[in-house]
Amino acid sequence: MTGETLGLVAVAAVLVGASVLVVLARNLFHSVLWLALALVATAGLFLLLHAEFLAGVQVLLYAGGVVTIVVFAIMLTERLVGQTLRQMNRGIGGGAVVALAVFGGIAAVVLRAPLGPAPAGPGPTTAALGARLLDDWVLAFEVLGVLLVAALLGAVYLARTDD
């Protein structure tokens, strides 16, 4: 049992456990907090995969930004403060079946597919990533920027009050 394997097992356990709690928690706030944990665990997975820059971005944007936004949204859409409403709908059984089926399907494909040996060596450096971004992928990069602006404007417009 190598160190990487051990680490993978641990992080994976945290990730899966947090995810389960995200979808099963009674209180929506708790769900969000468990989501934060799951996102951090994902960052851990990235680290194990030698994608340090990505791990950092994950923590910054996801765990930081997204969770904050969601918390604000929850605050703005609560009808009765503090009341715990039933969070699961009628379709819980069907959902479980479908989810299990999907997992089973993907797992079957994954386990059967002929995959190559595990690679070695360090991952790409941030400099390399940045160079490629502004070299081969510059168009997508710029479009992403436009997308971000559009999303910003859209969110502001949608959420404004009429006065």
Partner: protein
């Protein structure tokens, strides 16, 4: 190829056409009323003059040909046909031609038609003097159109042209019967006439087409030749010529298609005189005479013609006995006399039938016009409201009596000669004993109802209201001319002329007028005299009260008053068949055709409503679908 005879014939047809065209295309001329009448008169007058010329020309030529035959031993053919190609077809011969056929039959018929048309148009100037000028113009347009159509029919050299003019004549009859179009009864009568004759025309066109299909010919001469050559199967021939005969049944009002003629009296009286006495209704008789070689070659057909004719004669005579309307008496009388003509043709003596056609044309037109004068004077058609008119209208009474006697068949009037010929022909023909009896009884009945009509109108009863008087000269003139004709037309057939009827027709029709046994003239005169006397006895001197007589015949009389229920039968057939059929079709349309569509739409809606459940509007439910799709794809794609 055109000769002077055919040119004359073409002119005879063209002059009324020109008048009709002028009146048709020039509304101001029509609105001028009397002027339109003059235009029409010029057209028909010109036709009359030319027709007389043509007929006499042919007669003289026949006389010379007779001399030829007697001296040289052969008869030059006097039948001239001139045609133009009309419908082309592959090959050298055209499919159909249009033209004129001049022979003794057509020239005499044309002369009669032109004469009666002219006299009737002249008479109408007086009879319809009270009409609106626009209406009068319309009347004369129809009259000219009719004259053109009838003359075109007479001179037709082939079946196709005859059929075209046949239908035109039917159209003119419809237009003229429905002249008083604002009267519902007149409109209905016009439509009825059209429908009933159309039924017969169906047979006519089928027969023509079938004949053409078998022989490729429309022309009378050519068809007679191919029939004589024995090229056609006799059964087929009987079928097709029988269908052609159906057309004659409709047009000439034979049983059972006679029901339109009494109702056609809704038209003005001059119209009745022209087309429902002398000319249009005789077109059927003319057709049978024209196509006589074809009729003779079809086994059994002539027998049918004779029997139907005799039965019609008897039936119509019984119906004439119970009529109150003077025009209806004359209408049924026309039906009866048409039956006479047809019986003669069926007995194999076309000349006798044609002679009766000619004489009947004179005295029936005379009777109608005289009746018109009476109606004009007393403003009613009902004989029981007339009476003692002989003193007030001596001229009219005199000519009416002449016509009545001619119709009854008293010598030396023309009616006697032609009726004699008919009876002789039927007597001589084999197997027509019962028709002969029917005709004999009809002689008695004819005389009886004419006697009744004369007495009721002019001699008996109480006088009418108002001051009736004789008609003005423009109406009286034609009456006198027709009276003279009624007397003298018989002379055509007697041996007085250098060339007799038979010799005139020699080579075209077997025109020997039959002479029956010696007692036949005595029989017919006796029956006629007895009928007249009986009529006078019952209605003038009251020897037997008419009411008692009617009661004696009881149910028969009542049935006769209803036309023996024929009209009711037709109406029921129409209602039953047509409306019943319509109801069935309607049901099919509503429940089957529409039903299919309705069911389809109902199922579509139900399916839609059923499927609508899927659209819950909730995104999560749609996601289920997506997930299921992904699973499906996984299975299809990666299943081992």
């Amino acid at each position: 190829m055109a000769t002077s005879e055919t040119t004359l014939a073409a002119l005879i047809v063209a002059t009324p056409f020109a008048a009709a065209l002028l009146l048709g295309c020039c509304p101001p001329l029509r609105r001028a009323g009397q002027l339109a009448g003059v235009v029409a008169l010029v057209g028909s007058g010109a036709a009359l003059v030319i027709a007389m010329r043509l007929a006499s020309w042919l007669w003289v030529a026949a006389y010379r040909a007779e001399v030829f035959r007697l001296t040289r031993g052969f008869t030059p053919s006097r039948e001239i046909e001139a045609t133009l190609a009309w419908l082309p077809q592959a090959g050298a011969r055209p499919l159909a031609t249009v033209g004129v056929l001049v022979d003794p039959l057509s020239s005499l018929m044309a002369a009669l038609v032109a004469l009666v048309a002219f006299l009737v148009q002249l008479y109408s100037l007086g009879y319809l003097a009270d009409e609106r000028p626009g209406g009068l113009g319309r009347y004369y347009l129809y009259q000219s159109l009719f004259a053109f159509s009838m003359l075109g029919l007479v001179f037709s050299p082939n079946f196709l042209q005859l059929f075209v003019f046949w239908e035109l004549v039917g159209l003119c009859s419809y237009l003229l019967i429905g002249y008083y179009y604002q009267r519902p009864a007149a409109a209905r009568a016009a439509v009825k006439a059209f429908w009933v004759t159309k039924l017969g025309d169906l047979g006519l066109v089928l027969g023509i087409v079938l004949l053409w299909g078998a022989t490729g010919e429309f022309g009378f001469e050519a068809l007679a030749r191919s029939v004589a050559g024995g090229a056609l199967d006799p059964g087929f021939l009987t079928l097709t010529i029988g269908l052609v005969y159906l057309g004659a049944v409709g047009k000439s009002a034979q049983f059972p298609l006679h029901v339109w003629l009494p109702d056609a009296m809704e038209g003005p009286t001059p119209v009745s005189a022209l087309i429902h006495a002398a000319t249009m209704v005789t077109a059927g008789v003319y057709l049978v005479a024209r196509a006589f070689p074809l009729f003779a070659a079809a086994p059994g057909l002539l027998t049918v013609v004779a029997w139907v004719g005799a039965f019609t004669a008897l039936l119509a005579a019984t119906l004439a006995l119970v009529q109150r309307d003077i025009k209806r008496v004359l209408a049924y009388s026309t039906v009866s006399q048409l039956g006479y003509m047809m019986t003669a043709l069926g007995a194999g003596a076309p000349a006798a039938g044609f002679l009766h056609l000619l004489t009947h044309g004179f005295f029936k037109a005379l009777l109608f016009l005289a009746a018109g004068a009476v109606i004009h004077a007393v403003a009613t058609n009902d004989m029981f409201q007339m009476g003692r008119l002989a003193r007030a209208m001596p001229t009219t009474a005199a000519v009416f009596v002449v016509g009545a006697l001619a119709l009854a068949g008293l010598p030396p009037l023309s009616g006697f000669v032609s009726k004699e010929a008919v009876l002789a022909a039927v007597w001589q023909a084999p197997g027509l004993g019962v028709p002969f009896l029917m005709l004999a009884v009809t002689v008695f009945l004819t005389a009886f109802y004419m006697g009744r009509a004369v007495v009721l109108t002019f001699f008996g009863g109480s006088g009418p209201a108002g001051h009736p008087h004789d008609p003005p000269p423009v109406m009286a003139g034609p009456l006198w001319v027709l009276a003279v004709g009624s007397v003298a037309a018989g002379g055509l057939a007697s041996g007085r002329l250098p060339l007799g009827f038979a010799q005139f027709f020699a080579g075209h029709l077997d025109a020997t007028l039959p002479h029956g046994p010696d007692w036949l003239p005595w029989l017919s005169v006796g029956l006629a005299g007895a009928g007249l006397a009986a009529g006078a006895a019952v209605y003038q001197w009251g020897v037997v009260s008419p009411v008692t007589l009617a009661r004696g015949f009881g149910p028969l009389g009542r049935a006769a008053a209803q036309g023996y229920g024929l009209d009711a039968t037709y109406a029921a057939m129409y209602r039953g068949a047509l409306l019943g059929g319509a109801r069935v079709v309607g049901w099919i349309d509503r429940y089957l055709v529409d039903g299919v569509v309705n069911v389809a739409s109902a199922w579509t809606l139900r399916a839609g409503a059923g499927l609508r459940v899927i659209q819950t509007g909730r995104a999560q439910d749609y996601l289920y679908g997506v997930a299921a799709g992904v699973l499906l794809l996984l299975v299809i794609w990666a299943w081992p």
